[in-house]
Assembly symmetry: C2
Homo-oligomer: 426 residues x 2
Amino acid sequence: MANWQALIREQLEKDREASVKLLQEWVQSPSVQGAEESIQKSIAELLAKMGLDVDLWVMAGEELVSHPYFVSPRQTFEGSPNVVGVWKGAGDGRSLILNGHVDVVPAGDYAQWSDDPFSGKVADGKLYGRGATDMKGGNLSSLLAISVLQKLGVRLKGDVIYQSVVEEESGGAGTLATILRGYKADAALIPEPTNMKIFPKQQGSMWFRLTVKGRSAHGGTRYEGVSAIEKSMLVVQAIGRLEKERNDRLDDPLYAKLPIPIPINIGVIEGGKWPSSVADLVKLEGRMGVAPGEQMDDAKAEMETALQRLAEVDPWFAEQPVELEWYGARWVPGDVAQDHPLMEILQDKFAAVTGERAIVEASPWGTDGGLLTALADTPAIVVGPGVTQVAHYRDEYIVLDDVFRCAEIFALTMLDWCGVAEGPAK
Amino acid sequence: MANWQALIREQLEKDREASVKLLQEWVQSPSVQGAEESIQKSIAELLAKMGLDVDLWVMAGEELVSHPYFVSPRQTFEGSPNVVGVWKGAGDGRSLILNGHVDVVPAGDYAQWSDDPFSGKVADGKLYGRGATDMKGGNLSSLLAISVLQKLGVRLKGDVIYQSVVEEESGGAGTLATILRGYKADAALIPEPTNMKIFPKQQGSMWFRLTVKGRSAHGGTRYEGVSAIEKSMLVVQAIGRLEKERNDRLDDPLYAKLPIPIPINIGVIEGGKWPSSVADLVKLEGRMGVAPGEQMDDAKAEMETALQRLAEVDPWFAEQPVELEWYGARWVPGDVAQDHPLMEILQDKFAAVTGERAIVEASPWGTDGGLLTALADTPAIVVGPGVTQVAHYRDEYIVLDDVFRCAEIFALTMLDWCGVAEGPAK
């Protein structure tokens, strides 16, 4: 039997320089929502060169946009194609989806970044830029896992389906479209930035919009009005209390180390139109975490109750209740059994490659894994090389060694999961 | 000697229906900043028909925009002409400016209005719509004071200068332009909405913008970031404390009846870009009241100190101090002696017309009066028929009887202040 691990590591080392250059190019392509076409085309070309059956398409159609799991701020996706490449197996093996998104969140305030947010700069073994960690580095690990096996002359028994999707950051319409197009497998890996922790459970989340009302007046007699800005602070406090209640009662040991396992984040505030008028309307937008195993409708009901209780804090809210709207993105929570065979293989390979025991936790955020598990009957496990703490953050980076270590773990996992039909060539 | 008061009242009554129709047309013209051309042209035509020397011009030029008292979000004013009409006196009398602005603040949330904000609807003796009170109703009082005297065949000794200006709501560039064009007088009346209280002192005010910083992170691990939205609440509280300090020490008896004589209003909040990211920047915009007699620079310094003290509340602000910018509008405080001859005439006429004693107070907001007093050597007194409480407010209205009562007081005041050369015709 071949010493797979040594062969794989050696080959990855040989390709390392070219691989880093590829990741740089990916990060330098600022693929925020609506601007993914360039990177997707280059990925499709690459997959075709590797001999995969490539499917590049712009998702569309009534079945997609009217699907109960469809959430996106947009209804049409020109300029944002999906890409899937299938590495056909010889047959008689278990298939595996390697799913990853190419859309990245906006860079935020450029001035807070030490470099251009899309620099792709390499320094001290790290590669910097928006998307490096979330999740172009992980996508590279998946791609390298395939290419390294190919270069070693391996042919697997089961199919490997490489998915480069859009719209993850706004709720998973890209992955939903792959499911509706018929892609499924016996299991899936999603290399979201977990610091190589293994997440069989993933937190779901939902976006909400709150409308807080005030009553306008001249700023010079502001006591004649009611400031929606001041009232919105009471709303933010109430959301904080709800977050605390929901997290205090959570006793899943997989979440034990997280300060706030299922956070409620208020990310956007906007209100008032004139400095010297009392603001009569404030809009708050945020995301509410949903625990694995929790029904999304139950979480929604808790939010409604918390807002209704505001009338006890301030009678103004009895007169002018806060309006609640669930809009935009939604991620279904995911839940794969801890003794699933792929979980065992993964932990085994992790230990072999790193010499350490894998950390198994539940993810603090939603991923496309929930959709694959719930809709496509494809149990999805989330594990990847990115640095969780810098996702959606200024000076986002990834540690390059981790990318290659993940590729090694994934390649070894594929050998066991999909089975080996041929190779390695000598 | 003619019974002026009876003659004036009778003539106003005769013209009442046409006058109300005119005010309706004015209110139906939604003359928010940048959209004043239509109403100004119609006012210029009207003044010309009344025989006044009419000056309609679009203000411009280096002298204006580089003037230390110039404040405006814009530098050019196409579509927003000023209008001045001079009713020349026979000579040897005191001149009087009747100043009023035609710009109105935006309507805010249309849904909170019972009718279209620019309906001009008349019901129960009130005329409704944005600008009815602030201050098209008052402008009509000034216009009627001139026209009623003309119709009675009066010719005054002193000039009466009717000024229909733009840009009052953003800091007085319109009135500044009239001053730079050479208009001044022995005194001025400004019929801003005072509920017919007489304001020899006017509060000044300044606009400010605060930039509150956070640190971005993924909403699902929001504890890794610092929310600029949460920090902005501490800033709003600090502004509240500053407002209280400044008002607690104010002992001007003219302000005794106001709950907050010199308010600080935060009118606009805006921050964060993505519901599931921690907001790294929040912008707050507001207006700070300045007491009559207070130096604007002293008020600015107090705001700076209050923001610096935030570091004692939360060490985050030592690391990331709130940025303060004075921008946009600024109104110079005004201060006319309570025993000024025009004050005496006004109080006398008020008593004659209403049978009541005039209330003399200090205004809770800035007006163009500060500029006229400080720059044009034209002591300006603010008194007008509008309802203070509904200025900048939904369902703004004016009580029509008050408009005509103010016209009567102004006409009588003009007879005494400017002196009568001819009339009335029998």
